[in-house]
Amino acid sequence: MAVAKAKGKVEVLTGNYAAAWGAKLARVEVVAAYPITPQTTIIEKLAEFVEKGELKAKYIRVESEHSAMAACIGASAVGARAFTATSSHGLLLMHEMCWWAAGARLPIVMTIVARAIAPPWTIWNEHSDILDERDTGWLIMLAEDNQEVLDGVIQAFKIAEDERVLLPVMVNEDAFILSHTAMPVEIPDQEVVDEFLPPRSDKPYILDPDNPFTHGNLTYPDYYMEFRYLMERSMEAAKQVIAEVDEEYYRLTGRRYGGLVEKYRCEDADVAIVAAGSSAGDAKEAADRLREEGYKVGVFRIRFVRPWPHEEVREVLGRMKAVAVVDRSISFTKGGILFTDVTSSLYGSTPLVHGFVTGLGGRDITVNHFVDIVKKVYSEIEAGEKGAKWEFYNVKWEVLP
């Protein structure tokens, strides 16, 4: 298959501007949003696009994130391509409406700038906010860099609107690490994106005053489960759609991300680092450095947390001697959220799984941390350790009361 040479202009963009560019190129028709740090510059940039006439969209200013999602639900239900963005407490306030959007099967796309949750008050990165949404029925994608944020928003609409899916999609960028840090980003030509992403179809339905109906009404116990099963079936089908969309995007732009997961130097690895979001980049650098020292290390980047890449986890991580799961979230007494999902998928297989809860509230996870983590796991392999365990990593134990 011929792959198009990357064509488009390269600009130095923050993750937030990359998200706004993604939405603009996707020709979103409705933006309903409420500002919150560190998301605000996404919707500011979109407001600028609309104001300058560069994006033909209805921009709805609302009084809360709950209303932002409610407005997107309304817009999407009448057939518009709807977009919003939020973060942390804004996402928590929106939580109820997130369930409505998914249950109503509306292909909304939302950028999340993952930020820790107060108290104590914080604005820095963590994944607890977005991973709190993992059971809502939204697809959840975590980008590693700003280019993937832009490409991810465009891909997300294509995935969400696919008739086999018809579920909303969240595209995550890490607070400040991506949102406010600039890097060169290729902005694809509008014609390329138009070819990839045609206007929205009339699926799943379009509300029409001349032919009135409502959606989401009271459903008795004799049918509710069937509607939940249909969501499960679509989420499962989304795995294939995600792979197809990634390949089609590659043909048009020369860029692809691996679909559900990205496997970096995993083929001959003994130990895999599991990471999601921006820290996966540091993990790759650590893997390169460790390989120079003779350690056979790979990085298994979880790109989609939902749908969960169960088959890939079993196939790739199942053959490792050990797996180090580095989480930016904590489910108290149970470990990181990726750790719990990885261990349940690996049930019955042999690798040692060691979870590391770290980087909470924006604490850096550096290349050296990943190197240290991998060496720790190697010593555990040599000691013959089995099973699964987890720990808080990089904690100032000396300040604890």
């Binding site: 249950g103 109906f213 049918y223």
Partner: protein
């Protein structure tokens, strides 16, 4: 396996407008609106404000109540400018 045809459900719940899909909701009522026609000035406030569409508007703009579906919320009585609607406890 018997070839019984089963109606397929849509992707999500879709409801078409239909009368009384929740049953005869008039049975929920504790207080019933009674219209004193001699006080009615045909302003149609009750017809506009009724959240259930159970005020029946006649050709001459006089009104009556569809007691099969009126839940007795009393909004019509509250909105009536001439106090022509009285809420009477069900017997």
């Amino acid at each position: 396996m018997s070839a019984v045809s089963v109606e397929k459900i849509p992707l999500t719940v879709i409801s078409l407008p239909s009368k009384g899909s929740m049953g005869k909701t008039g049975t929920w009522r504790t207080f019933k609106p009674v219209i004193h026609q001699e006080k009615c000035v045909k302003c149609l406030n009750c017809w506009l404000y009724c959240p259930e569409g159970t005020i029946i508007r006649h050709e001459d703009d006089s009104v009556s109540v569809d007691y099969e579906y009126c839940k007795g919320c009393g909004i019509c009585a509250n909105e009536c400018p001439t106090k022509a609607i009285e809420m009477v406890e069900e017997g």
